[in-house]
């Protein structure tokens, strides 16, 4: 058997060889080397299949390079149908008005804008300390005073006067902050006033049901 004949049937051969083919392999270094290489490839091929795909970064870099060269472009979405009605900025005014109304109502409920202070804001340039009138306790504070009185009646009057005092502080501080919104001292007064009220709440609640 010659090399040409052996190599023609090589693809059909599996692991076993005939006597004639084995004898040819023994005497032909060229064909035996070829068989050895083919066997090596057959051994390594399954191992290559288990390798992981390239990391996503590789694909990203390839994509970036292709975009830079203009070879790939984003597909533009189909344009939306044009609406004939244009809102412009007209919607801002009623929304802003609604927001201011809600904000004002919240402030009013928190005792920030009693009727007499509204007059002061429009009329005078200096705040007047409004303190200690019977109306200066909010409904929420009145409820808390009931809780305190239930536990310790003697403390009710003390807490009531403290609530009135801190409410007056907050009113004055808010007036000052509104007049000087960027003023550091006014902001500090406001912060302190709210901290004082928070402390009164905290201490009053300590007297609540255990």
């Amino acid at each position: 058997m010659g090399c040409e004949e052996f190599q023609q049937i090589l693809s059909e051969l599996e692991d076993s060889y005939s006597l004639e083919q084995e004898q040819h392999l023994k005497i032909c270094p060229r064909c035996s080397a070829l068989v050895a290489e083919l066997n090596a490839i057959a051994r390594e091929a399954p191992l290559l299949a288990e390798d992981e795909d390239p990391s996503p970064r590789v694909w990203n870099r390839i994509e970036i390079a292709l975009r830079q060269e203009g070879l790939i472009r984003d597909s533009k979405p189909a344009p939306a149908p044009v609406r004939t009605i244009r809102w412009g900025r007209a919607w801002l005014a009623p929304v802003a008005a609604a927001f201011l109304l809600i904000f004002g109502l919240l402030l009013y409920q928190r005792g920030g804008m009693e009727p007499q202070t509204r007059q002061l804001v429009s009329g005078t340039s200096q705040p007047v300390t409004t303190c200690c009138s019977p109306e200066d306790v909010s409904a929420e504070q009145a409820e808390l005073l009931k809780v305190v009185a239930a536990q310790e009646p003697s403390l009710r009057a003390a807490y009531e006067s403290e609530f009135k005092a801190v409410n007056a502080y907050i009113r004055d501080a808010e007036l000052a902050a509104r007049r000087n919104p960027n003023d550091e001292i006014s902001q500090q007064y406001l912060t302190n006033a709210y901290e004082q009220r928070a402390m009164v709440y905290e201490m009053a609640m300590d007297h609540g049901p255990q």
Partner: protein
């Protein structure tokens, strides 16, 4: 004879009264072993609390209830000790009162709460938090630790407190600081008056702020401060000749003064919304 019998009866009645009184006051004493920087809290609705340092790693609590309508509970977990007065049904400010005397390691952290007080702490180096509604709070000779005090109406007095942060909040209690200095000293009040008598230390931020109360700051001529004082409606007075300082705070309505004394080592803010402010030279 009749007189001697009468005297004997009076004596017997006195003895009986004292015995009854003593029986209602059962002294309780607790000893706890703690480590470095222990944490001790005393919660007492009615009655005084006094805290002093003791050598060694121990906490000693002596509690004297005034009636059987209040009990003393204690809890010791590791380095934390908590003692509290528990009111029983029918207790009031008198019958629910417990007198506490407490000794703690000098660097312990201490939390004291008493609605009526008084509350006293002295010669400690750890952080302390004192809370009271109408309690008279007296703190003296503390250093290195942070001092926090909160009262509603109770007056607060600090004497010789140095090297720590001091934060005092009182709604209507008057606050007096005598020889108090540190990196941060802050007093906030709504209607209480604030009085500071000291040299404002060598560096620090001092803020004395009140809504309607007056502020009196008495300091020696050698004080080194950068001072800003302002009152929206009240008067401000100053006994020092101040060097002008650059501050954006000066341009406001109301009465104010600003400037430096000496090397301006400490920053001092004196703010009263409608009260009077006086920087006095001692």
């Amino acid at each position: 004879m009749l007189r001697s019998m009468r005297s004997a009866s009076v004596a017997l009645l006195a003895v009986l009264a004292l015995t009854t009184f003593a029986a209602s006051q059962v002294r309780r004493e607790f000893h706890f072993s703690v480590h470095h920087r222990a944490s001790i809290s005393i919660f007492n609705q009615y009655g005084p609390i006094s805290v002093k340092p003791v050598s060694g790693h121990q906490v000693i609590v002596v509690a004297l209830p005034h009636s059987d309508k209040v009990e003393v509970d204690e809890n010791h977990s590791g380095n934390r000790v908590a003692v509290s007065s528990r009111l029983l049904p029918g207790a009031d400010a008198e019958s629910g009162r417990v007198d506490y005397e407490v000794w703690v390691p000098v660097n312990a952290s201490v939390i004291l709460h008493s609605a009526t007080g008084p509350i006293h702490a002295e010669k400690l180096h750890g952080d302390i938090l004192l809370e009271g509604n109408t309690a008279d709070v007296d703190v003296r000779d503390l250093s290195d630790g942070h001092v926090h005090v909160k009262t509603l109406k109770g007056p607060v007095t600090l004497t010789n407190v140095t090297e720590g942060h001091v934060e005092i909040t009182s709604v209507s209690g008057d606050v007096a600081l005598n020889s108090v200095s540190g990196p941060l000293v802050q007093v906030n009040s709504t209607t209480g008056n604030i009085r500071y008598d000291g040299d404002f230390g060598e560096s620090g931020e001092y803020s004395l702020m009140t809504h309607t109360g007056n502020i009196d700051a008495i300091t020696p001529r050698y004080a080194s401060i950068d001072v800003y004082a302002h009152s929206e409606q009240g008067k401000v007075e100053n006994d020092f000749l101040l060097e002008p300082s650059h501050t954006s705070l000066a341009a406001r309505a109301g009465s104010a003064f600003a400037g430096t004394v000496g090397k301006a080592a400490s920053s001092v803010k004196l703010l009263s919304f409608s009260g009077r402010i006086h920087l006095k030279k001692r």
